[in-house]
Every structure is written in C-alpha cells, then in structure tokens.
Amino acid sequence: MKIETLKEEKILNKEAIKQTVDFKSGNEMAALAAAQINYHIMGYYPITPSTEVAENLDEMSANGEHEMVLIPGDGEHGAAGVCYGATTAGGRVFNATSAQGLLYAMEQLPVQSGTRYPMVLDVVCRTVSGPLNIRGDHSDIMMALNIGWVIILAKDPQAVYDMNIIALKIAEHDEIRLPVIVAYDGFFTSHQKRRIRYFSDKKVVQDFIGEFKIQNCSVDVDNPITIGPYMNDPDLINNKKQQSMAMEASYKIIPQIYKEYAELSGRRYSMVESYMTDDAEAVLFILNSAADTARIVVDKLRIKGKKVGLVYPTVIRPFPAKEIAAALKNAKAVLVADRQDSYGGWGGNMTIEVKAALKDDPQNRSIVISRIYGLGGKDFYEEDAEAMFELALDAAKKGKVDVPYDYMGTTPGDPNFKFEKVRGPITNKESSLGIIKVTRDEKTGKLDVKGVKHAELTAMPHRITPGHGACPGCGIFPSIGTFLKGIEGHVVMLWHTGCGMVVTTGYPYSSFNITYIHNLFQNGAATLSGVVEMYKERQRRGEIPKEQDITFVMVTGDGGLDIGLGPALGTAFRNHNMIILEYDNEGYMNTGHQLSFTTPLGHATSTSNVGTVGVGKKFHHKDSAQLFAACHIPYVFTAVESQYRDLIRKAAKAQWYAKNEGLVFGKLFSSCPLNWRHPDNIAQSVVQAAVECNFFPLYEVEHGITTINYDPEEKGKKVNVTEWLKLMGKTKHLLKPEFKGVVAEFEEEVERRWKRLKAMHENPLL
C-alpha cells in the first residue's frame, strides 16, 4: 500500500531563500537560532541537559558571532529574575533550563506572564528529582501547564531551530504579548545530531520576527510607570481574564505564524500533526521524539494491514482541543502515552487533557487508554511503540479496555534478590582511635590539637568506600577522605548535588558506609539543619540515648555554594551544631565545567570561553570563607590536601566546635584534573602552587580571630601567580602577552586579599 507522507514534506523548498545544510544537535540548533535572532540578554544557570545552549552561545560570543550578553544567575531562580528585569527594560530575552531548574525558576514564571513581558525559554525536558536522574522525560514541562506561558514542542533538532524562531514571533505578537516555552526532549533531541537546514543569512530570521516593539519599559525616563502593583480581588481576576484572552488569541495566531514560516522555510507545522488517522481504528497520542519512533511503527503495521494512526501536537498551551478531537473522531481506541504521571490522576497530564478534549465532541466514542512510559529517560524502542498499538488495537476490537491506566516498561524484579551486606555499621569504638587529642586552654580559650599522625590514621575505617566513579586523580576524595581521618566516632553526611554525589551513589551502589543523605544543592544546609535539630530534640525527649554522639557533615561543591548560598548562610546565622565543607574546584564540573562564582578572573570555562574577543571569566572569584567569617560562627577554616597535617588538625578542631559550640565552615581547594586540564598525577602540586602564590591562603578564624597557618613569604616559598596558572590547560592562555593586563588585575586582587588577611592575622580585632 501507499504510505502517506506528512504535509511538511509535500512543500517544495523555496530556492530563493538560501539555507545551509549542516549536521547538528537540538541544543546547537537552539543556540544557533538565538544567535541569529541576536537577543539582547540571556540570563541562565547551567543544568543538564540544557547547559549546552548557553555554552554554545558563549563560545560563539567569544568569537564575536553575536552580541548577546550572557548573565550567569546564582541559580535558576536568580536567572529567571535576571530575565524578568531585562524584559522590563525593553529588549529581547532568552533562557534555557531543565527539570529542577524549571521548578526552581517557576515562582518567577507566572510573574513574567502575569505582567505580560514576552521572552523565550527553552525547556530541555528532563526528569524531576528525586531520586536524582538527569535524563529525559516530561515530568518537568507538565509542571509548567499552569504558569500562563505558551508552550510549543519541538520533536527533532530541525524543529528546535524552527520553533525557536516561531516562538519569539508568537511571544511578541501585539495580541499575545506572552512569554513562550519551547520544549524538546533532553538527550534524545538535545544531544542527537541530525541533518538540518538553517537560514544562511540571519537577516532572514530577524526580518521574519520583525522589530521589537517596546511596551511598559522600566528605563524610559520620559514615561515613568509602576510595574507589578499590589492588586486586590476586584482587579486581579480581570488581569487573569486578559491573560486568558491573550492565550485565546495565540490559539488563532499560532497557525498563521506557522503558515508564514512555512512560506519562508518550506517547513510546515500544524498545531496537531496527524498521520494515517483517517481510517485508523487505533491511534497513539504521544509527544516529541517518541512520536518519530512511533511513526516508523505505523508504517510497519500498516504494511501488515493494521489500521493504526498517530497524533502528536506541536502546541500544548494553548491546548488544541478541537484539532485533537477532530483527529481522533474516527478512532475506536486511543492510547495516550505520557512520559510523566499526574500521580493519582489516573494518567499523565496529556491523558487527562485528551479525555477532556474528546468530551467536548458528543459524537466521539473513542476508548482512551493511558500508559506511562519512558520515565527517567528510559529508551523508547520501536517494539515499545508496537506494544502500545497492539494494546489499542485490542481495545478497539473488544470495544473495551481491561486496564485503562498502567505503566509500561517497568520491571518487577527478581524475588530472590537481596542487597548484599557489605559490613556492619562502623561502631563508635572502631572509629574512636584516640590518636588525636583536642584540648581547650581554659585561659586563652584556644584549642590545642596533638597526635596528627597520618600513617597511624590509616586505621580509621573508610566512611567512604572504594569503587566510586570519580575521574582518575579527582581531588574531592583525597580532600574529604583526609578530613574524615580527623573525625572520630559516628558521622552522618549530607552531600549536595554535584560530582561527589553523582559518582558515589549510582543506584544500586553506594560508596557510603555511614548514613548519607542527598538533597538538591539549593537546600542542603537547611536540610542538614533539620536533621541536627530533630536529633537533638529526640535526644531531649529521651527517644535517642543522650550519651550518643553524631558529627553531622555537609559536603558541597562551589556550585552548591552558589545556588545554595542563601540556605547555607541561614544555617550559619542559626548556628547549628554541624560542619559545612566546600570542595572548591572553581567550576560546575558535574555539568561540564561552566563558570562558578569562585572561578578566578580570566580562567577559561565552557561559559567563559577564550576566543577572538572572549578573555575567560570576566569577574573576580567569590571568597566563601570570608562570607562565613562574617556570620560570626565559631570556626572557619581553609585547607588543602597537599598540607594534610594541617587539614587533619583542622578537622579535629571542626569536630570539637561543631559538638560544643555550633556551625563550622571549611573550604577545601580541590583539583579537577579533567577540567583544569593538568595531568592526573600532579593534583597536589597544582593546589599547593595555589597556596604558594597566595591565591588560596591557609588560615582559620576562631571566634572571629584570624590566624594564617602557612605564610609562603615567611617560608621563602612565595611564587608568582603565573607559576600556578602555567600548570593548567584552563589558564595557559593567560601566559600569552595579550593577557598581561588580565593577569596583572588578577594578581592585584590576590595580593589585596592576602594583605587584608595578613592585617587580620596581625590584629585580633579585624
């Protein structure tokens, strides 16, 4: 039989407008569209799998290929704030995020739509935590159905490009003026390279979208306005009615814009795409990349004479209910496949909405089956699509469905399987070696630590076990492992999201012999505060023996201390009995080395590229130890693994302070051979060089009194910062003559901070 082709393929490409053929991924196409549009501002925060969009734009920016200003937020909430502010100031704004990032930003998103500032946000769909998973499903985007943004979908890299251009035109349309999300599948689309076409001349894109019409501008001094008033009940409902009217307008306008785009590009989109549905008895309704896989199966089943069809929308807000009902009017059974669940709603959100759409057509007698599939990025094979069609065919034949709602692709498991016991708990006795003695001088109030014998401390049981998946030479594990040698007795740890967390706890394995908790890195310090206070309260109530003692340690990367700084400072202000350890490797290594606020000036990262105009990171490094010192907590320290006796000594002190006084903050400078780009074996030399050049001074602040523990100048070991910078690939460019100015500025800042620290060391009042 003859296989019908989609409408998009029937249109001949216009030869008049030149398009370039290339081979690119979804994220590359999103970045390309944004660069061609030449947005004014992108506010962003890195999160897999959307990060590459900002990375690609930064690389293009470093080589002068567009003029966009890229602003790294302190988290997605901050990034959304940057975007909101920027849209009020009269320009075009872009952002990209995924999963938790979308949820963390979400508080800001109804503000964006409710005050009617258009922008475009790419949601690269990924599973919402927890447990943490970085791969693609639709649990994030379905949370965004109620935020008042137009949501359009892109099933492949070509559509990502096209929809990004279409999205801005929708957003800025006079009758709409709403922000728009372009949603595409994480990894399946974001990281898959396909043959694509794009407009060779960016002017074609810019002309299609048209001039930006400024409305309600926050920086127009001739027309001062009040943006975001307090609005009571007589009025708010009317604001929302307007929003709803704008959404209704978009429902009419989107097909027009699709048509205009088809005339320009030769690629036509419909709000609802349907394939072989006219005579289909069983139809599959499925979103984005999986729809492509399903289409292959339709062809295969049609050859076997099975009457199956496929429906997938390219817009889900506004929901094209009429078009969907029309496409399904002849179907005896419809299987709606949701890559997420609305737990307790007897289907994912698309099931619920398709059922509602069909209810509006009194003639429709379709049986609706709901199947949840592909969660956490579980691959969707042709045989999975075939199983869905068979289910729908069966229901169509029988005129009923036995199990209307279920999961597909789950595993019951082997009933005989049991987790193999590794060892019993690490007892207080075996981890209380008594090698290190901490005593407090009653007169001076200072702590004295004796017995830091690292060879003897090899007897300390490993709280973290071998077999973790960190990169060869990783600095996290020597740093944290050595710290733990100085901690006696029971330990409970909380680790923020980051490399250290991901490589230790890949299910069903864990590298922790002690109790370990993960929470997302916005909130670890607050979470551990809760653990500590519950423990203490249960001790007070006699539910836990009073003599029992646990040392609570939170571990974060420098990234977790960017996005999670607020709760960490709150924890410091409340002075809980716990330790916060930051392993600072100067970047977001878990997502592929984007800049963090601790990345030093001029260092190259994937979002501070070096190129014809890019000079690496553009602002100075955050000093987190001084931030916590300013909270007046009992003990703050810095340490490196290369000076391990100092590190172990500080661990012992940290434990004493956490037990007796309150919060301890420790900053460990930790190498990342992969992204710092130095050989795996020289990690210790590299961090030590950072100490010798005064970039990372070793000091402690006890009750506000600063003591420098190692003064390279006194030891005659002081080196120039370039002696450190030359060891790493990420800073090699700084040794070139054209970067002299950057290095001078960096060195000046390093020296200024060092001199300030020395003054504090010399004067107990500072």
Binding site: G413, E456, Y509, L674, A683
Partner: protein, 338 residues
C-alpha cells in the same frame, strides 16, 4: 570537500547502516562518533544521526556512541540506541569484563578492537560468536604520535567498513581540530593513517565455539516488587564490590614493598582508597606500626598520584599490558623481580 556518491554496503530492515562504539569517558569516543557521522552526512552524502549514551558518566566510566547512516533521501526518525550494529568499535578491551559489549553482533558484523592481542586472541577474549575482527594497538600508536587513541580507531573503522572514504573523515578531523588546535592536525592525520594501515583482521565463521549474544533489556534484578521504598540503598558501601579497573588508560602504579617506609602519603593522595593497610611491626624500629600491604587493582584508576608523591620509589608507573600479571593479582612486588 566535494560530495562523493557512495552506497552503503549493507543496511538493516529500517534502511540503516549502524555503528556502535563502546568506550570509557575520556578516550574520545563521543568525538570520534561525531567526526564519523559528520564525515558521512556532510562529506559523503548520506543522511544519518549521531548521539551518545548519557548518564552521570565521568572520565573513566563506560560510555557508548551511536552512528546511523542511510540514503540521502530517507528521513531519520530513530531515537533509540543501536542494538544490532553492523560495526562495533571497542575503545577499551577490558570493558568486556563487565559489560556485554558484543550484544547484537552477528556473523556479518565487524568488530574493531583496541588491543595488543591478535585477532584469534581477541575473538577468544571477547567470546565472539562470529564476525570479522580488526585488531589495532591504538594505545601504542597514540603514545608514539602524542595523540589520542580515537583517531587511530577511526582509521581502522574506516578501513574495516569498506565504504567510508578516508579523505572524508580526515577532512572532518581537520575541521574539528580547526584553528584552535591547528598544531594537532598533522599528528592526528598520521595517527588516522596508521590506524587505517596497521589494523590486522580475520573473519570468523559461526563455528559453535561461542554463542550469539542477542540484545536484551532483561536481567534487572531490582524492580517495583523489591526496590526498597523511596530509592533508599539499605547496604551502603557496596560500591566496594565494583571492578572499576577498566577506567585505567594503560598505566598502573606498582608497589615494591621492599622499598616502602610505610610513610602513609600514598594513602592520603589516593582518590580511590586503593591501598590496604594492616597493623604490624615496623621492620626498622621493631615497634608496632601500620604497614602498607598492597594495592587493590580492581579499584585503582591509574591516576598515578601515588607514584608522584612517593619519595622512596616504592611506587613506580608501568604500562599495564607489559606488567607481570602476578603483580596485579597480589597487589605488590617484593622487589625480587620486576
């Protein structure tokens, strides 16, 4: 680069020629896959796609890259991994110890393997049902040319495929290195040529020596009946059961206990907690002390931090394939032989 008209020698039922690369993060399989796919689509006129497996992989963890080619007028709609590759490339032979890398490779399949073994040895090592085995010592070439193994393997893949145009791939290698790494272009092209020319192949017919390993998604032992509630892992520390020796890229530290002073610095610097210590007697002082016994090679990733830190040459670095197997089994040498 001008487009040449080339036909695919064989395609599956869906119309694709499919390639799967099995590697560990850091060896450049992802980039090799990209170069290969770009060469096919942009320089040879095929349509196609390319993606990699993603989890939370770091350097040293298993990764897969997939490449599909089809005729230019066919649309690519596949999004799932390659399950029955026409060509399988193994960047790291030790992966086969923990991963069923040969799944789906049939009698017409081609297996390119980075190894110092002969095709017969490699076939037995992989327990390969049948197919054509191409052996290439990519590590040796990469060390000699000061490049990475991925370009050498690309050369062998190109030769083994029988249809890929070496000029098309070399053009893409050049473009990918670009201006940024211009000095690496010449050594990489040489590495490619050596990979192309130095591969040794042999075809094995199905002889019932080893069974065909079909692709399967079954075998998951923990499911919704027995997964502990909330995703909790009740048995912490179980990563100790994992063998992560495939993370090594060719080098290992060797511990000579006759030179060791039990100073403990290696234990501080080891990211993988691979050193085993016991209570004992310090041979020099005659007093009770902690004594370093051995390296657990299942957990060693070969970073050589310990070799760098050891002041006594008790730890030295060696090429793994040249190292006496008994040292790997015992975890040390007593200095009597090397």
């Amino acid at each position: 680069m001008t487009t040449k008209e080339t036909k695919l020698p064989i395609v599956n039922g869906a119309g694709f020629y499919e390639i799967r690369m099995e590697s560990i993060g850091g060896l450049g399989a992802n980039l090799a896959g990209k170069i290969l796919a770009e060469a096919g689509v942009l320089n040879m006129g095929f349509n196609g796609s390319n993606f990699s497996s993603y989890g939370s992989e770091k350097k040293g963890s298993p990764v897969k890259a997939f490449i599909r080619f089809c005729s230019s007028d066919m649309e690519v709609r596949e999004n799932s991994p390659v399950t029955e590759p026409h060509l399988l490339a193994l960047f790291h032979e030790n992966l086969s110890k923990t991963i069923p890398v040969t799944q789906g490779v049939g009698p017409d399949g081609i297996v390119v393997i980075n190894t110092s073994k002969s095709p017969d040895e490699a076939r037995d090592f992989l327990k390969l049902h049948a197919g054509t085995v191409y052996c290439i010592n990519a590590l040796k070439i990469a060390i000699a040319e000061k490049t990475r193994i991925n370009t050498a393997i690309l050369g062998t893949i190109c030769r083994a495929s029988g249809f890929l145009d070496p000029d098309a791939i070399k053009d893409m290698i050049t473009k990918n290195l670009g201006k940024k790494y211009a000095s690496l272009i010449a050594p990489n092209l040489k590495t490619f040529d050596r990979g192309y020319n130095e591969g040794v192949s042999k075809k094995f017919k199905p002889d019932n020596k080893y069974p065909y390993i079909p692709f399967t998604r079954d075998g998951q032992k923990i499911g919704y009946f027995n997964q502990p509630m909330g995703g909790v892992i009740p048995s912490g520390g179980n990563s100790i059961f994992k063998d992560i020796s495939a993370s090594r890229e060719g080098w290992i530290p060797v511990l000579d206990i006759s030179k060791c002073t039990n100073c403990g610095e290696c234990d501080i610097t080891c990211p993988d907690y691979s050193f085993v210590w016991e209570d004992g007697i310090d041979p020099k002082k005659g007093k009770p002390a902690r004594i370093l016994k051995r390296i657990v090679y299942e957990h060693c990733k070969g970073c050589l931090r310990c070799v760098e830190i050891c002041k006594f040459e008790a730890l030295t670095s060696h090429k793994e394939f040249e190292t006496d197997k008994t040292i790997l089994e015992k975890g040390f040498t007593d200095g009597s032989k090397k």
